[in-house]
Amino acid sequence: MRRSAVFVLLLWLSSVPAWAVQPDEVLADPALEARARALSVQLRCLVCQNQSIDDSAAPLARDLRLLVRERLEAGDSDAQVKTYLVSRYGNFVLLKPPFIPETLLLWVTPLFVLVAGAVAIVAGRRLTRLPAPTSSLEPSEEAKLAALMRDPNAG
């Protein structure tokens, strides 16, 4: 098991060019190319570990980048390109998972923690509420204190 892991790593390393997007992929139209790059960042290289096709050097990532560019040149909108890829590869291809029943917990957790935490803090405060501010100072002392508070350099 261990040897095979090393072997896979070796294979992976030896087949890897240093980086992803290659010069021959770049589209002539800069606006279209910019859209292709923006889309690539959101799409997963399916055979990689958590890499977008924009980052990945795997051959499949290159195929997907070319496919994205093909679709864009054919006049697809960004959403259409994504829908097309999801229809072929499933939601796995999206690095930002869609909001569907299976991902409900994923999307709701941050909000839930924030709200639950806030509620817990407020409720906790209710339990240990500050006693009503009582002053043990004479009115004249109060006035003197207030004067001191107004001017921090007076002391």
């Binding site: 070796l10 980086w19 770049v26 570990q49 958590n50 977008s52 796995f92 941050p110 935490g117 500050l130």
Partner: protein, 661 residues
């Protein structure tokens, strides 16, 4: 021989760890001082033995003893000495040994330096620390023995994965481990407090330096890892929301919350049980990180050595320690007396808000990291959670954190004045707004979020020093008075300011990526490529021989307005032993920005595919982290926190306190 003694030392260390797990705690419950007193020498002995074992493995690697399997699999006789040394922890067995060494080191440091601590608290803490050591020593001895022999020994080793043959490997893992294993001692302190049922401001004062120390290392370790990825992986990215990165970010977020929380507890004796919870949570997340990285449950660029068969063992450790400590917490925490009260608008409340936001950040990263695994295990559905998810969820939370940071610094303890605090921050807000307006006016066509990011960053940096400026009394007092006031401020106040300014600078670096320039093209001698304010002129190709590789490089002159600024030589290194190639980016740091060039495939016509970047202010991302670490160090050097100061101060009539504190 040395190899066998190293192995034996590990066995003895386990025996001592088991003794240390039991005797001190038995002593504190039976009130037997002689049993309590065993904790210190046994902890020191355990450290000595683990250090010996580690030294033995280092020795095997340095002399290239190819009768040791670990050396065969990860070393080569021609490998440079620095990689023979760092190769010790560039593999599973060695990195687990480093883990245990740091565990024993923190135990030993508490035994050696924290002499002023109450004896029973120290004894219990060391006992809990030994529980962790015992578990991991057992793990090493049963599943990951680094001293296994290989007979007959091969003539040559298989070399270290070329991606790891980088100075980054010498620095990143030790720093990171010092950070997240360092939080083990904080966990042990928390468990000890729960066992004894006593926790007070003195406890927070003992714990704070250790939490701070671990936090500094973790901060620097994460930053170093990010810079390493940035310069080796070749596409100029520095954070990928990879599960392995998230594994180190989660303890950092929880640890940051913990640091702020101990500040409240030390000053105001409140938030006790929450502080304990965070202490447990932080180290639990470290354990979770170790599980994720070491078990092979996820394989990624970082998981250079993993083995699923070991996963079960670590999972068991994880369940026992997290489950056990949480159970202990649920059982004992309600006993704790709550301390001082504070108004809804106060420094304490700001820190509670900071904790709420940081905890939510942490929960977000945790769900994002584990959700795909859980979903696949439960339903078989595969989803991906990557950068776009985290940018959308973690991003806004972090913005909220940063907005609150200067405000919290400006609020008084116990009962603050929100309006006053806001007024004091007028300057910070104004400078931020001006920076934003200038960028919008003079930088056309850039991304819309970048100027806002810069505005927030400037606000945080200026805001970090606002409180100090106010305390100096300027402009109401003479310069000398102001200076003497500034010098008289506690170091921890300066530490806070620097740490907060550091996170602001990091954000500045992140925001500035919006103005980066990227060119993807084939280059050959004579080409000139425009990179923002610079022009990259390709001079030609050259080859250099290395110790265990050959390097094909391209020489590129960087010019500005025709004048030569500097030369970079991006290259690709071919390692014969592993038949692989590693790209070495050519990087020139020009002021705070960088020109970054990395190479791809070569073509028969002599041209080379290249990716060329101009990244303005990018170094601020890591400079910010260094400054955060510096702030931590300043805070650590505060006399109030110097280990043992509390008791000495009590003995020798309290020094006259600073008027500001």
């Amino acid at each position: 021989m040395i190899t066998e003694t190293g192995h034996y030392a590990l066995v003895l260390a386990l025996a001592l760890a088991l003794v240390q797990s039991v005797l001190p705690i038995w002593g504190t419950t039976r009130r037997d001082p002689s049993l309590v007193a065993t904790a210190v020498p046994v902890a020191l002995g355990q450290l000595l033995l683990v250090a010996y074992a580690f030294g033995a493995l280092v020795y095997d690697h340095v002399v290239s003893d190819f009768s040791v399997l670990n050396v065969v699999e990860n070393s080569h006789s021609t490998k440079p000495l620095i990689y023979k040394l760092s190769g010790v922890w560039g593999n599973h067995e060695g990195s687990m040994l480093l883990w245990v060494l740091i565990l024993a080191l923190f135990g030993g440091m508490v035994a050696g330096f924290a002499r002023s601590m109450a004896d029973d608290l120290r004894a219990n803490t060391l006992a809990v620390q030994a529980w962790i050591s015992s578990a991991f020593l057992l793990f090493i001895l049963l599943t990951s023995n680094p001293f296994t022999r290989m007979l007959p020994p091969p003539i040559e080793g298989q070399d270290l994965n070329p991606i790891l043959q980088d100075p980054g490997l010498a620095i990143h893992p030790p720093l990171l481990y010092l950070g997240y294993v360092g939080f083990s001692i904080v966990f042990s302190f928390a468990a000890a407090a729960l066992i004894s049922g006593r926790i007070d401001a003195a406890w927070a004062r003992y714990v704070r330096p250790w939490a701070l120390l671990a936090w500094i290392f973790l901060t620097l370790g994460i930053a170093m890892g990010s810079y390493w990825a940035y310069y080796t992986l070749g596409w100029g990215g520095f954070w990928f929301w990879d599960p392995v990165e998230n594994a180190s970010l989660m303890p950092w977020l929880a640890g940051t919350a913990l640091l702020h929380c101990t500040a409240v507890m030390e000053k105001r004796e409140t938030l006790k049980s929450w502080t304990l919870f965070l202490a447990i949570l932080t180290f639990s997340l470290s354990l979770l990180g170790t599980f994720l990285v070491r078990s092979g449950v996820l394989t990624s660029v970082h998981s250079f050595a993993n083995d699923p068969t070991r996963g079960t063992f670590i999972l068991l450790i994880l369940v026992v320690f997290i489950g056990g400590s949480l159970a202990l917490y649920a059982w004992r925490a309600p006993v704790l007396k709550q301390g001082g009260l504070f108004a809804p608008v106060s420094r304490e409340s700001a820190l509670v808000l900071n904790n709420l936001l940081l905890t939510t950040c942490c929960a977000t990263v945790l769900t994002g990291t584990l959700y795909p695994l859980a979903l696949e295990a439960a339903t078989g559905d595969k989803i991906s959670v990557g950068a776009p998810f985290f940018n959308l969820t973690f991003g806004p939370l972090m913005v909220a954190v940063l907005l609150v940071v200067p405000l919290g610094q400006s609020l008084a303890w116990k009962r603050g004045d929100l309006l006053g605090a806001a007024q004091r921050l007028t300057a910070a807000v104004a400078v931020g707004a001006v920076a934003c307006a200038l960028l919008l006016a003079f930088r056309h066509g850039g991304p819309t979020l970048a100027p806002l990011g810069v505005a927030l960053a400037v606000y945080v940096v200026v805001g970090a020093f606002t409180e100090i400026a106010r305390r100096s009394g300027l402009p109401g007092v003479s310069l000398t008075t102001a200076l003497s006031r500034l010098v008289g401020l506690p170091r921890s106040v300066w530490g806070t300011a620097f740490a907060h300014a550091g996170i602001g600078l990091t954000l500045l670096g992140l925001a500035a990526t919006g103005w980066g320039v990227e060119q993807i093209r084939s280059i050959k001698a004579g080409d000139v490529v425009d990179l923002g304010p610079y022009q990259a002129a390709v001079i030609g190709t050259e080859t250099h021989p290395g110790p265990n590789y050959t390097e094909a490089a391209v020489r590129v002159d960087l010019r500005r307005g025709g004048a030569l600024v500097t030369t970079v030589t991006p290259s690709r290194r071919s390692f014969a032993t592993r038949q692989s190639t590693v790209s070495q980016a050519g990087i020139a740091t020009l002021w705070f920005g960088q020109v970054y060039i990395s190479l791809g495939d070569s073509h028969p016509d002599g041209s080379v595919d290249a990716r060329l970047f101009w990244k303005p202010l990018v170094t601020f991302i890591w400079i910010g982290a260094l400054i955060m670490g510096f702030g931590g160090l300043l805070s650590l050097s505060d006399r109030r926190l110097r280990i043992g100061f509390a008791r000495r101060a009590l003995r020798a009539a309290p020094m006259h306190p600073h008027p500001a504190e």
